[in-house]
């Protein structure tokens, strides 16, 4: 394994391997001493070109639990004129001996550039790039769903996929890297995905994605949903005419109290409500929904550390590199 850049080309084998490894890692988080020596002496750089305290501390916790040395590099600045180029930053990190670079970038494809160029030889983990992908978020979501789905079915979580699970993802799909990564990964794991959004917030070309598309959240819920994932919606989108007002958005596409009650009325007692955070309470999700027993929001955060430990471990541990040199978590570079 070399990089984790996207879920689009992540094989079922590799996806299950990450999830199973994360199950093992989660045990560490439950111990009094939450630490493994696996990555002692290895250096992990959190290279963040965009603010994201949640994702950064999740990766930081993951790396530290594996005993890696962690360097946080906040390289904000959004244009060439301000600050250093990606190339120079990457070469600087290479010179400092980074073994892995966890990169969050506002530009889609920036992690691919790091992986495809000779600027740096470290393992690259995409921690969210522009509106492209956020593979570890999708993996932690899948981990959370798999635990729930196994519990519902009374089966073992480890080794399982998500066959038969119905997942609805609602919100700003157009601008969401979380939605993209989830669509590909959930398809690979065998789940049935329905995207729910106003037509303005779906990309042209979505009809070719391996999922269903709906403009109507109520109909989607009525059709049966095992996991309801709400995406963060930026209120400012209404200024660019993606929707008329936050209130109208909330009424039509938000998971409000009425829809929370509808789950009970429809007899869907096992349906979970997910959100990648940070939430806009009252916009895409009501407080009652966010705080209900159905909500997995905090479990997702907890599982995020386990999944990121698994990703770091699989990419950096010498054993797996040698044992499976042909297995790659990265999408194949084609040129």
């Amino acid at each position: 394994m070399k990089h984790l850049l996207s879920t689009e080309n992540l094989s079922l084998f590799d996806a299950i391997r990450v999830l199973d490894t994360a199950e093992e890692m989660s045990v560490v988080g439950e111990r009094e001493v939450k630490k493994l020596p696996a990555l002692r002496g290895r250096t992990v750089v959190n290279l963040f070109f965009e603010d994201s305290t949640r994702t950064r501390i999740s990766f930081e916790a993951a790396a530290k639990r594996l005993s890696a040395d962690v360097i946080n590099f906040a390289a904000k600045g959004s244009s060439v004129s301000k600050g250093e180029s990606l190339k120079d930053t990457a070469q600087t990190l290479a010179a400092m001996g980074a073994d892995a670079v966890v990169i969050r970038h506002w530009a889609s494809g920036a992690p691919h550039r790091l992986a495809a160029t000779d600027w740096i030889d470290a393992a690259v983990i995409n921690a969210g790039d522009g509106t492209h992908e956020h593979p570890t978020q999708a993996l932690l979501d899948a981990f959370t769903m798999r635990r729930h789905w196994s519990q519902v079915n009374g089966t073992e979580s480890t080794g399982a996929d998500l066959k038969g699970m119905r997942v609805a993802i609602a919100g700003d799909v157009l601008h969401s890297r979380v939605a993209r990564s989830n669509v590909w990964l959930l398809k690979t794991l065998g789940a049935e995905v329905t995207l729910v959004a106003p037509p303005t917030l779906l990309p042209i070309g979505v009809e070719r994605w391996p999922c269903k598309v709906s403009y109507n959240l109520d109909e989607t819920l009525e059709a049966g949903t095992d996991a309801m994932m709400m995406l963060r919606v930026q209120g400012e989108r209404m200024n660019a005419s993606f929707f008329p007002s936050t209130r109208e958005y909330s009424r039509r596409w938000g998971f409000d109290d009425a829809r929370l009650r509808a789950l009970d009325d429809l007899g869907m007692k096992d349906t979970i409500i997910m959100h990648p955070g940070p939430m806009n309470r009252g916009l895409e999700i009501s407080s009652a929904a966010a705080d209900s027993p159905r909500s997995t929001v905090l479990a997702q955060v907890r599982n995020g550390v386990s999944v990121r430990m698994a990703a770091l471990y699989l990419l950096l541990s010498g054993d797996s590199r040698e044992a499976a040199p042909n297995v790659s978590l990265s999408s194949k570079e084609t040129n």
């Binding site: 530009a107 920036a110 691919h112 550039r113 509106t131 084609t334 040129n335």
Partner: protein, 441 residues
């Protein structure tokens, strides 16, 4: 042996029958079988195709202002090597070519270089700002004799301004070359909007943003009875609109770039900014429509949109990267690959779309002429059987941003005669043409 006399032996004229061409003092003196001239330098052209020197209606030579990207000298060297004897230099230099002074500077730099005719394009609006007409008449009357006007890189999107420009240039037989891009529909656009952009999460540049402007502009051209040229048509819908306009008798010409004839947006999946260009690479269906449009005459000419950039503008994130590709040294090969090897066009058609018609559109005197006795000797010799692998580091252009890097392409330019002087021989740069000194009395 006379220095300015060349006997080209046995070249297939426009791909037809093999004949000899005798060039003397910048003119084709004779054409026929078994010509002889004792004082001539003989060039064996067995197996080669003789074509009129190519005329590019669309290049960016970057001078003045971005001499780190390209200069008139390096850009015209690249042009000569690519088989061109004339290039139009777009106005988006710094300062912008929106005054007689700047276009005369570019014109002078071209003459000093001596590799090809450099035809400056004048900006339509002051500073390309889209607010107010530049002094088009002054540029037309200047020593540069500007006939093509364009804000290329930026669309003249204000319909009233576009109408006025179209009307105004009639006074001196000018043409407005439009970069068709509706700005509001393309704010922040990074690549073609479609299946690939949806997956990559890059902001889309929809085909409708090009097509809606072309539709508007052909109607404006019809309304005011003006001549319109559409730069780098890139979508199937644009081809249809131009076809419709021509059927209505509207005086419109259209251009396609070599890269839009060959490459698609699938390449963007690599996130390699060498594939970032404006208008963006489109889909395979668009590529096929562009080829058909060029073959059937809907699209009149090939223009390279040669756009060199310093490496730091491409060695970065996709969204940060500059738009544009080099093209002068690969144009002939790409057109051969896409149009001739596919059987869509002959070499005579090639001469039409790369030389005859572009010279007419740009009103370039002494260029794009038939290879006949008495005509100016702007002639190239092409080896259609050659195959070569593109290496941007071996090019004369300063730009290393060729999207064809590593690709094997057919056809090579063996010789280029500019005003009867060989600027390229044996596929290598020879010497530039030197203009006669102007007497000072």
């Amino acid at each position: 042996m006379a220095e300015n006399t060349y006997l080209i032996r046995g070249a297939a004229i426009l791909g037809g029958e093999a004949e000899d061409l005798l060039i003397r003092d910048g003119v084709i003196e004779a054409r026929g079988k078994d010509l002889s001239a004792d004082d001539a330098t003989v060039i064996d052209a067995q197996g080669l195709v003789a074509l009129p020197g190519m005329v590019d209606v669309h290049t960016h030579l970057r001078e003045p202002g971005r001499e780190d990207a390209e200069t008139v000298e390096t850009g015209t060297r690249a042009a000569a090597l690519g088989g061109f004897t004339a290039v139009h230099a777009m106005a988006n230099s710094n300062p912008v070519a929106d005054t007689a002074g700047v276009v005369e500077q570019v014109h002078s730099l071209g003459r000093a270089s001596g590799w090809v005719d450099v035809r400056p394009v004048g900006a339509v609006t002051v500073g390309l700002a889209g607010q107010q007409l530049a002094e088009l008449g002054a540029m037309a009357d200047s020593r540069a004799q500007v006939r093509m006007f364009s804000d290329d890189g930026i669309c003249v999107h204000d319909p009233v301004l576009m109408r006025r420009a179209l009307e105004y240039v009639k006074a001196f037989d000018g043409v407005v070359a439009q970069h068709a891009q509706e700005p509001r529909l393309t704010a922040g656009a990074q690549m073609n909007e479609g299946a690939v952009s949806a997956v990559l999460g890059l902001t889309g540049w929809p085909a409708v943003a090009e097509e809606s402007i072309i539709a508007r502009d052909v109607l404006l051209a019809q309304h005011v009875g003006s001549r319109l040229h559409v730069c780098h048509v890139s979508t199937a819908g644009s081809v249809e609109i131009v076809r419709w306009a021509k059927a209505r008798g509207i005086n419109v010409t259209a251009e396609v770039t070599p890269h839009h004839l060959l490459l698609t947006d699938e390449l963007v999946r690599s996130y390699d900014p060498v594939y970032k260009v404006n208008p963006p690479l489109r889909t395979d269906a668009d590529v096929q429509a562009l080829r058909e449009g060029l073959a059937d005459g809907t699209i009149d000419v090939v223009g390279t949109d040669h756009a060199p950039h310093p490496s730091e503008h491409k060695e970065c994130e996709w969204a940060q990267a500059a738009m544009g590709m080099t093209g002068l040294e690969t144009a002939l090969s790409v057109v051969q690959e896409t149009m001739i090897e596919t059987g869509l066009m002959t070499w005579a058609d090639f001469a039409r779309v790369t030389s005859f018609t572009p010279a007419v559109i740009g009103r370039v005197v002494d260029q794009g002429r038939p290879l006949e006795v008495g005509e100016p000797a702007n002639v190239i010799l092409v080896d259609p059987a050659a195959r070569w692998t593109v290496d941007p580091h071996k090019m004369a252009t300063m730009g290393r941003n060729s999207p064809f890097k590593g690709k094997e392409l057919p056809g090579s330019v063996v010789a280029t005669f500019f005003k009867g002087h060989p600027t390229v021989l044996d596929g290598q740069l020879n010497t530039p043409y030197r203009y006669p000194a102007v007497s000072s009395n």
